[in-house]
């Protein structure tokens, strides 16, 4: 790899954290065949939840901070294993909380913004189209590449942190225009309306195209929340980091169906995907906000449960930014009065829900439906928000 003089200096840095970060990027860059580095505008750090990284992670982050590692670009953080204020109400143990707080302290010392959300683009970190960034968290990567039009690979925890510290990342993969061309054409014949429809489509598509770049035709609508759900699902069942939706995310013409693999998504595929994702019934927990809920989603949930009682627990996961509005507008009170909770900073998958006694969870997120069985020993009910809530309203 060709390194600039500044990059050579980073490799020789007296600050161990900085030196190791640069070594890591150069090593990875060589593995990827990158010719040079590219400077980045921001980073998104993963490997934040104590449930995910355990004691090795706590020791690493504390040790790395002690080695002088400090971010040099704006860096936001993935969800933690608990709501940093409401962890007791969640039922999280003191031991867990203590470890999660040590992680938080190490992150703060390194200058990482304690945002604890997978929707940084809804919480103050909005890159510009075309901007090079180094983001981890597959749903955020998908959104920032496809909807915002920035450029990032799907970074891992250490590589994203290394990029944040050095302010650069190996210029390979989706940082290069030639790698951003679609290589699948997906003609959507089913009616895709609700957020869970978009999620189901993503779950199906990701499984088939794996880590390729799909281009969807036949989708009429889709605003930020629907695209958020689509991208998250494809990044979970597959490893899609970039996609196109004709007329929605791009004005560019679809690839000719002779040039790329072409698939079609039929109504029967949609129906089958809902069935595929549902592995249980009678959920003890209904959980929304994977990725983190927008204010619109929270408004809809509050309006639906207002004045009602629920036969299950209800978690609405969101960022601390959006929860500020939910609190101010009374939606948190409304949801709590119905027996639910609005949780900031965490998510259904990276919080220890299996230790809290839940065995079956209901979700409108195909990403959650894909992960909950493996990560949290959950059986899953997958449906759209309204249908799930109507089931649990007394």
């Amino acid at each position: 790899m060709h390194l600039t003089r500044e990059e050579e200096e980073l490799l020789e840095s007296d600050t161990p954290g900085e030196r190791k970060a640069m070594e890591l990027l150069v090593t990875l860059g060589d593995v990827y065949g990158a010719e040079e580095m590219v400077e980045i505008g921001s980073a998104q750090a993963s490997g934040i939840s104590y449930k995910s990284i355990g004691d090795p992670g706590v020791e690493f982050l504390e040790g790395f901070a002690a080695e002088g590692a400090k971010v040099s670009v704006s860096t936001f953080a993935n969800p933690a294993g608990m709501d940093m204020q409401q962890w007791r109400e969640m039922g999280v143990s003191e031991e867990f909380a203590e470890k999660q707080e040590r992680i938080q302290d190490a992150l703060r010392e390194m200058g990482v913004t304690l945002s604890f959300t997978c929707t940084p683009y809804l919480a103050g970190n909005l890159p510009r189209r075309g901007e090079h960034v180094a983001w981890a968290e597959s749903s955020a990567v998908s959104f920032v590449n496809s909807v915002v039009g920035a450029r990032t690979n799907r970074e891992g925890g250490p590589s994203a942190l290394a990029a944040a510290i050095t302010g650069r990342t190996p210029k390979h993969g989706l940082h290069l225009a030639e790698n951003r061309r679609p290589d699948y054409l997906i003609e959507v014949d089913a009616e895709i309306d609700s957020q869970s429809d978009f999620a189901a489509l993503g779950s199906w598509a990701g499984r088939i195209v794996e880590d390729a770049v799909p281009y969807f035709t036949g989708i009429d609508g889709g605003r930020t929340d629907e695209l958020k759900a689509l991208g998250a699902a494809m990044a979970a069942s597959g490893a899609v980091a970039l996609y196109y939706v004709e007329g929605i995310t791009t004005d560019e013409e679809p690839p000719a169906s002779g040039d790329v693999e072409t698939l079609s998504f039929e109504p029967s595929d949609l129906e089958a995907e809902y069935e595929e994702l549902t592995t249980g019934e009678n959920p003890e927990l209904v959980v929304f906000g994977c990725p983190h809920a927008s204010m619109e989603e929270i408004e809809e949930i509050a309006a639906t449960v207002e004045g009602q009682s629920l036969t299950s627990d209800l978690w609405v996961c969101t960022s601390g930014a959006v929860k500020t509005w939910a609190d101010r507008n009374g939606h948190t009170d409304t949801i709590e009065a119905a027996g639910g909770m609005v949780l900031a900073d965490t998510c259904n998958v990276v919080s220890p829900i299996e230790e809290l006694g839940y065995e079956t969870s209901a979700t409108d997120s195909a990403k959650a439906a894909n992960y909950l069985p493996g990560f949290c020993n959950q059986q899953v009910v997958f449906e759209d928000k309204r249908a799930l809530l109507e089931e649990v309203i007394e």
Binding site: K20, L28, V31, I53, E59, F60, F64, G157, P158
Partner: protein, 147 residues
């Protein structure tokens, strides 16, 4: 150990690719299975605790750890870092093909690491002392000649 024995002490040099730099030496501890570090190793002692794994019960501290590749959770990188921080990391790591979990962990933990050796991993004599010289991109095997 295989092959003819010889009272002469000879060094056999095996070429390879350096993943990290540095130099480490120790007794070979080899596994024919890939290794997923997260949950497999006791961070404070270096003891391999994963039930059913070939290396169960062995201690990696100060060894030249030889295995095909890493796998599993990316937290494995942090495990290697933690072992180093606690002074119980392998002296060096040798793989067939190093993937990112082990590469990252070796860099963060400053553990010399090489792959793509010019001889099969199985030829490295179990329990014998070797020197992993990543700076020179070679492995030196004392004692018996390697076939």
């Amino acid at each position: 150990m295989t092959g003819e024995t010889d009272d002469r002490v000879t060094e056999e040099a095996i070429d390879g690719r350096a993943i990290t730099d540095g130099r480490g030496e120790g007794e070979v501890l080899r596994s024919s299975e890939p290794v997923s570090f997260y949950g497999a190793v006791d961070l404070s002692t270096g003891e391999f605790i994963e039930e059913g794994h070939e290396l169960e019960g062995h201690n990696v501290a100060g060894k030249v750890l030889v295995f095909p590749r890493g796998k599993g959770s990316t937290v494995g990188s942090y495990v290697l870092y933690g072992l180093a921080k606690n002074g119980v990391a392998p002296a060096a790591i040798l793989n067939e093909e190093t993937e990112t979990i082990v590469a990252t962990g070796a860099i963060l933990g400053e553990i010399p690491c090489m792959d793509s050796l010019s001889a099969p991993l199985s030829s490295l004599p179990e329990g014998e002392r070797v020197v992993v010289d990543a700076d020179a991109e070679r492995v030196l095997v004392d004692g018996c000649e390697v076939e």
